[in-house]
């Protein structure tokens, strides 16, 4: 929104984003309204118990500007935006939208002020259609008839204007994640949002969907919207924003014009120190610890295993790359003891194990870092203490004659919280209240504490921020140097390349011939993942 023509719009509040100018003492003339920033946050603070989620955060969002709110998991980004939208009430501070103060704790007022929010976890009713979800709350609740035709017309118009293709008559439960996100954006546009907040919008998207989202955002800005883009992914922040605000532990620690900064500087601001790639010491191979011999399984989440053989050796990280659905899920389940082979054998330290089960896997020293930390790795409504002893509550350390030793369990939880630098209010807190990175640290601690012989790490850094990723990598490498045999299953090729002493590519339930560190390039691995090479072998590894 250009305001240069307005005679008195200029100098008094130039550079509003510096946050240094005093707000005008007298009310602005009506014609001057357009010089107000789209949003102004003044000294917002919010605490959850002893945890400082936000501490005196102030910034302005200019009109037509894209701000990236960058920070690690748990830095307070989502809390801040929930305050803005009225889901939470701030302990201190105030928000102004287009010069008008925004009443706290009232989502309706935020919507009326032109603030639209695309939540990280979509707020859609799955049993209703796209049209119903968008129309929800836009017509008076006391109308005796929902005006579907008007809603339909407007949705079609908006879809066309902004290139957000979605069928208004489709039931939400049938939509893909990308389509659901488009519905969320349409919901905001339908209400004539002028400020759009997107909370980790790319976390659930495929790369192609991410590109489409970025094109949409450009279009929205061109049409005069202001955007706050929350992310912990540096390349995305560099790609879409005009300005970056960095949050760390609830504090606003930095502010940069995107054009005059780089990924390295932002990463350092975000983590609080320079992020160095993990150092890899030379490999010291030990004895073979876990071996699969000609193992086949039933299909699950894609392909099943097709007569694969694999040996995990002490002191080595074996990286398994591959496109999702090519049998990695079954392999992970198999080693974790959850799935059983239909043929073939599993041996531990050279001895075949007949009754393979989760308990047998644990008893034989296999530590598991599951792919989905929410669904399988933890029980959300149970406490941190309960979760960390979940795999070992039967051991004499935590129970005696069928009674749990809560003191020992509590001490163990406190030790993990301290050793692994987990940010959590107390060991009694429900684990689902923890951010993804902190939850993963606990799961990592739970897995590594008994000094396991074999470590199964499935997508160990999925959804984590830079600092947490580096931490997980360091812990895995340390475990390797202590002599653990590690199987790393990851869709992130850079991760596989950085950590693995030996790389196997999985395609259609079979293994490629393994390659040692540095032998194959990322492109060659990509070709193998796409199944372009015939070098599959039955007894590959």
């Amino acid at each position: 929104m250009p305001d240069e023509e307005l005679p008195f719009a200029g100098s008094a509040h130039s550079l509003p984003w510096t946050g240094k100018e005093a707000s005008p003492a007298t009310p602005l003339p009506v014609t001057d309204v357009s010089s107000n920033p789209a949003l102004r946050l003044s000294r917002i603070s919010k605490r959850f118990g002893p945890l400082k989620a936000n501490e005196a955060i102030s910034f302005d969002l200019k009109r037509g500007e894209v701000i990236a709110l960058l920070g690690e998991n748990g830095a307070g980004k989502t809390t801040l935006m929930n305050i803005l939208f009225g889901h939470y009430v701030a302990d201190e501070g105030s928000v102004e939208a287009f010069g008008e103060p925004l009443p706290p704790g009232d989502p309706r007022a935020a919507l009326d002020a032109g603030i639209g929010m695309v939540h990280q976890h979509f707020t859609l009713a799955d049993n209703m259609t796209v049209q119903e979800n968008i129309a929800l709350g836009t017509q008076s609740l006391w109308r005796m008839r929902l005006d579907r035709a008007a809603a339909q017309r407007r949705i079609e118009q908006l879809s066309a204007d902004f290139g957000l293709a979605v069928d208004p008559a489709a039931t939400v439960s049938t939509l893909s994640v990308g389509e659901r996100q488009r519905v969320e954006i349409l919901k905001a546009l339908y209400r004539e949002a002028r400020i759009l907040i997107l909370d980790e919008p790319t976390a659930v998207l495929t790369p192609a969907e991410t590109d489409a989202l970025f094109r949409t955002l450009k279009l929205l800005v061109a049409k005069g919207l202001s955007i706050i883009f929350i992310s912990h992914k540096l390349h995305e922040v560099m790609a879409v924003s005009d300005r970056v605000l960095v949050l760390r532990s609830g504090y606003l620690v930095g502010e940069r014009e995107t054009g005059s900064t780089d990924r390295k500087e932002l990463a350092a601001l975000m983590v609080g120190q320079e992020v160095k790639p993990a150092e890899v010491s030379p490999v010291k191979l030990g004895a073979p610890l876990l071996a699969l011999e000609g193992v086949s399984t039933a299909p699950y989440n894609g392909a099943g295993l097709d007569k694969v053989s694999l040996t995990l050796t002490a002191g080595e990280i074996t990286g398994l790359a591959g496109v999702a659905g090519n049998g990695q899920a079954v392999l992970a389940g198999l080693i974790a003891g959850i799935r059983r082979p239909t043929s073939g054998s599993i041996s531990i330290a050279g001895r075949e194990v007949a009754d393979w089960s989760p308990r047998a896997a644990l008893a034989h020293g296999v530590a598991r870092i599951p792919e989905d930390r929410h669904a399988i790795g933890s029980i959300g409504d149970m406490s941190v203490t309960e979760n960390v002893i979940a795999e070992r509550y039967r051991s004499p350390r935590f129970s005696r004659m069928g009674f749990l030793n809560w003191k020992a369990a509590g001490r163990f939880a406190e030790k993990l919280i301290a050793d692994y630098d987990v940010k959590c209010p107390s060991p009694e807190a429900r684990i689902r209240l923890l951010s993804g990175g902190n939850m993963q640290k606990l799961i990592l601690g739970r897995a590594l504490d008994p000094d396991p012989a074999v470590i199964l790490a499935s997508q160990p850094t999925r959804g984590l921020d830079v600092g947490a990723v580096a931490y997980v990598h360091r812990m895995l490498l340390e475990a390797r140097d202590r002599g653990a045999a590690i199987l790393l299953i990851s869709e992130d090729l850079e991760e596989v390349l950085a950590l693995s002493d030996r790389i196997i590519v999985m395609s259609k339930g079979r293994f490629s011939t393994p390659s040692s560190r540095g032998e194959r390039t990322i492109r060659e691995l990509g070709d193998l993942m796409a199944g372009h090479s015939g070098e599959h072998s039955d007894h590959a590894a």
Binding site: R108, A110, T138
Partner: protein, 313 residues
């Protein structure tokens, strides 16, 4: 008369529809509550209170329609109690529901005894009379069954149409359905989840009480203890049977009522060879069978029984 012939008599279907009517009211009430995400196990007690309130109003000299209105208000009050405890305070819906049933039932019996300390046989009132619809009621079997009923039965069918219309055709219906599926969708669109859920429970409970009042002001003409006799629990099953859809739930209510009417007639023609308890059991056994067949595919409201508190993570 043999067992199959019964199915083609008008009197059988007249009875079936009459037996279905209180179930229809109460099932619609429960359906509204559950669509908004609240399981209302207070239904049995609220029906008892409604039955008594309706009857007692008429017995004390009130009009039949006034009795119905009082029943609805009493139901709404118990609904408000249930909603206050379960929605903003987030208490267990099971515990509160059973508590409301026990409270409403006991309070009703207590007031009955206070008001009528001396009576041995329950006093009677002049109930709603059948109101045949001219023309339609002379259609054989079908017309007789549906259109020679009391005004309250017609109202029961109207309530199904109204609930269906409200849920699927009005803005507030959207909000109710969304509140039972994903409350944060409601909140994010600027509507109060608490308001929607409490409103649904209050209105739903009023309907349940009207269902109870049907028994004392239309089906029978007096109030006696234990008269609800598990009908509330049947309605909870009917909501599941109907996959939380008003039309399907209506069919379920009529089906159950038909089984019930049928077993009474089978008892009469069986000549006492089979113990009558076997027949009494029949509608319930068949309901369980129907539930097994139908409810396995039911898609239940995802946020049913999940409390929602604003600003909580």
């Amino acid at each position: 008369m043999d067992a199959l012939e019964i199915l083609f008599t008008a009197s059988f279907w007249v009875a079936a529809i009459r037996i279905a009517s209180p179930l229809i009211f109460a099932t619609m009430g429960e359906l509204i509550c559950e669509r908004a995400g609240v399981l209302n196990l207070g239904i049995e007690g609220i029906m008892t209170a409604g039955a008594f309130a309706g009857w007692f109003t008429v017995y004390s000299g009130g009009d039949l329609w006034a009795g119905l209105l009082v029943a609805a208000l009493v139901g709404a009050m118990f609904g408000l109690l249930h909603a206050t405890l379960t929605v903003p305070l987030g208490l267990s819906q099971h515990v509160v529901g059973i508590g409301v049933t026990l409270l409403a039932t006991s309070l009703t019996y207590f007031i009955y005894r206070l008001a009528l300390p001396e009576v041995t046989s329950p006093p009677k009132i002049e109930p709603f009379q059948p109101l045949p619809i001219p023309g339609l009621s002379s259609i054989p079997v079908f017309g007789e069954a549906l259109f020679t009923q009391t005004p309250l039965t017609y109202l029961a069918f109207v309530s199904v149409a109204a609930v269906a219309w409200i849920l699927y055709r009005t803005p507030i219906g959207l909000a109710v359905r969304a509140a039972g599926e994903n409350p944060s969708a409601v909140e994010a669109q600027g509507i109060s989840v608490t308001g929607i859920r409490m409103g649904a429970v209050v209105i739903g409970s009023a309907l349940m009480a009207v269902g109870g009042a049907f028994l004392t002001t239309s089906a029978f003409n007096s109030f006696f203890f234990q008269m609800i006799n598990g009908r509330g629990w049947i309605c909870i099953a009917l909501v599941v049977f109907g996959s939380w859809r008003p039309g399907k739930a209506l069919i379920g209510a009529i089906l159950f009522a038909a089984f019930d009417a049928y077993q009474v007639r089978l008892q009469q023609i069986s000549g006492g060879i089979v113990p009558y308890q076997i027949f009494l059991m029949m509608p319930y056994a068949l309901s369980i069978l129907a539930l097994i067949l139908v409810a396995r595919r039911a898609t239940y409201p995802k946020a049913l029984m999940i409390t929602y508190q604003k600003g909580e993570r």
